[in-house]
């Protein structure tokens, strides 16, 4: 095994960027787990919807496929992110309504939720594979921004898309942290994740808070999706699968149900998987990423920060 230390810098930067995106997706898994105690296996489809919606609205309807600069660029980027966020958020709320609430009303067993989630995920994903929607191939995401070098760190170039990812994700994480710790909605979500019955008997409207949780988790997933599509330049019907499984791993790594854990887990997983390239080569990165999950479950099943939502 020979390590190519020259790759340390670039893989670190790449890992960090990917890790930021994983962190944003992982929030959705962890928040839903917090309130419902179930892994939302349809979150990958929720993720996909965001990027696809931005592709449709910006690229197809408005036909904005040329690069922007200056204020125009900022406006169109905000539009891409907000469209992505809102679309995924709507998708997540729809998912809760169609796939989870009927089960909750009937007090279904845990396994039913799991099956329902997987079914919903397949349904949504393959729906977009149909030719009246995305079709089976990759579709090019509108090139609203050119890739330019922004600055250099550790001997590795960070381009303007990287800066966009870092800034967006940090803003999202700060917003979420404040939402969870300093608002009524946040307190209700935390109360619910600690004790559903007690929360309801203290006046928390459980259904409304669950919908909120899906909406918030979906929103961040959609923003992550928009960033992901911008970064890689295309959207495809199954684009949610790999990032979804990775983000789920990240959520477990940090401690499922724990919001700060999801952020930490996402960053760590992005770094681990990318930096493994330094010694093992490209083809190993997914192997390394998915070895992390069973290792974590064996060594510390509650994750790095343990299972609890909020601060």
């Amino acid at each position: 095994m020979d390590c190519n230390t020259g790759l340390l810098g670039p893989t670190f930067v790449q890992g960090l960027l990917l890790g930021f995106i994983y962190a944003l997706i992982a929030l959705g898994y962890t928040m839903v787990y917090g309130v419902l105690k179930l892994i939302n296996f349809a979150h990958d489809a929720v993720f996909m919807i965001g990027g696809v919606a931005a592709f449709y609205v910006i690229g197809q309807w408005f036909g904005l496929t040329d690069p922007f600069t200056g204020v125009g660029l900022i406006l169109v980027l905000v539009a891409v992110l907000v469209i992505g966020g809102l679309a995924s958020s709507g998708g997540a709320v729809l998912l809760e309504r169609a796939a989870y609430r009927p089960l909750r009303k009937r007090h279904a067993a845990r396994l039913s939720y799991l099956i329902s989630a997987i079914g919903a995920s397949f349904f949504a994903t393959y729906l977009f594979q149909q030719s009246f929607l995305l079709g089976p191939g990759k579709r090019s995401f509108p090139h609203v921004m050119t890739t330019e070098k922004a600055f250099e760190i550790f001997g590795s170039r960070v381009n303007n898309k990287g800066v966009l990812i870092i800034v967006t994700v940090i803003v999202c994480l700060v917003l979420l942290d404040r939402l969870i710790n300093q608002t009524k909605t946040g307190r209700s979500i935390r109360a619910l994740s600690e004790d559903v019955v007690a929360a309801q008997l203290m006046g928390v409207n459980v259904t409304r808070v669950i919908v909120m949780t899906f909406a918030i988790g979906g929103f961040f997933g959609g923003i992550a999706s928009a960033l992901y599509s911008l970064q890689f330049g295309n959207v495809v019907w199954n684009m949610g699968f790999i990032p979804g499984v990775k983000a789920f791993t990240a959520a477990v790594l940090g401690g499922i149900g724990n919001i700060r854990g999801a952020m930490l887990g996402g960053l760590l997983l992005g770094l681990i998987e990318n930096m493994s390239v330094v010694c093992l080569g490209n083809q190993w990165s997914d192997v390394v990423a998915f070895v992390v999950l069973p290792l974590m479950l064996i060594l510390r099943p509650t994750g790095i920060l343990g299972e609890r939502i909020g601060g």
Partner: protein, 268 residues
């Protein structure tokens, strides 16, 4: 002073088990009402019927003239009933202040968009809510634990915190499920004073309690349940003399304190 809570022929059937059968009682505004009875008599089941955890098989519960049977627990909180739990159910990983804040939030209107854009109402409600929660902590004597996680409080303090959290929802009727369970004599005295203070502030109290000294000393009136039936109803001193109560609850020939020696646990 009118009737605040009317329990009318409430029956709760779990499969073959009749946990409550045609139970009637009325609570007057401003009184402390005791609900007593041996283990498994159906006291907590009655609490669950009043607070919306269970939907009674038959009968109705009316609060302030409004029928509340069939409503969701959070709707009943909004109407003005809140409770504590026999087995403490705080939010263990939230601070004492946040626990009370969740209760206070029941009266808050801000939705998520208001919170994101920091609307004036959101800011006012956050400010006022925190002040109110702090005041309630002071009211039950827990000010210095405001920023401690609920799970780190002592048992007696956790019971007080549950009361503060319930008061946070602004109830007209407060249901206390064995508030003195597990408390030492000093804590029990403090609790008695607290319950009276709550009543004097204008909140009606419905109390389940095993400790006869606590319940008889505090209650204006009591109802006694046994095997899901109401066997006595009236002033504590009358009820204590009722042969049926002595027979069923205290055990024939037993003294007034025998009941408190019984186990504190009762299935919900």
């Amino acid at each position: 002073m009118g009737t605040i809570l009317k329990v009318d022929k409430v029956t709760m059937q779990f499969g073959g088990l009749r946990a409550l059968g045609d139970v009637d009682f009325e609570i007057q505004e401003g009184e402390i009402f005791g609900l007593i009875g041996p283990n498994g008599a159906g006291k907590t089941t009655m609490f669950n019927c009043v607070t919306g955890v269970y939907n009674p098989t038959a009968g109705s519960v009316t609060f302030d003239g409004v029928a509340i049977t069939g409503k969701r627990p959070d709707q009943i909180v909004e109407i003005g009933i809140c409770r504590t739990f026999q087995q403490i159910r705080l939010f263990p990983n939230m601070t004492a202040l946040e626990n009370v804040f969740v209760g206070v939030d029941a009266r808050h209107k801000t939705q998520i968009l208001g919170a994101i854009f920091r609307s004036p109402r959101h800011r006012r409600e956050e400010r006022e809510g925190e002040a109110k929660a702090m005041k309630l902590l002071e009211y039950v004597g827990l000010t210095r634990f405001a920023n401690d996680l609920a799970k780190n409080l002592s048992y007696g303090d956790q019971r007080r915190l549950e009361i503060a959290r319930a008061l946070g929802t602004g109830p007209k009727l407060l249901l206390l499920d064995e508030p003195a369970a597990g408390m030492n004599p000093v804590e029990k005295n403090g609790l008695r004073d607290l319950v009276r203070k709550i009543r004097d502030s204008g909140v009606t109290v419905l109390l389940i309690e095993h400790d006869m000294k606590v319940v008889m000393g505090l209650s204006d009136r009591v109802a006694v349940l046994d095997h899901g039936e109401r066997i006595a109803y009236g002033k504590p001193e009358e009820v204590q003399k009722d042969p049926k109560v002595i027979e069923a609850y205290l055990g024939s020939g037993a003294g007034g304190n025998a009941a408190s020696k019984q186990s504190k646990q009762e299935g919900a």
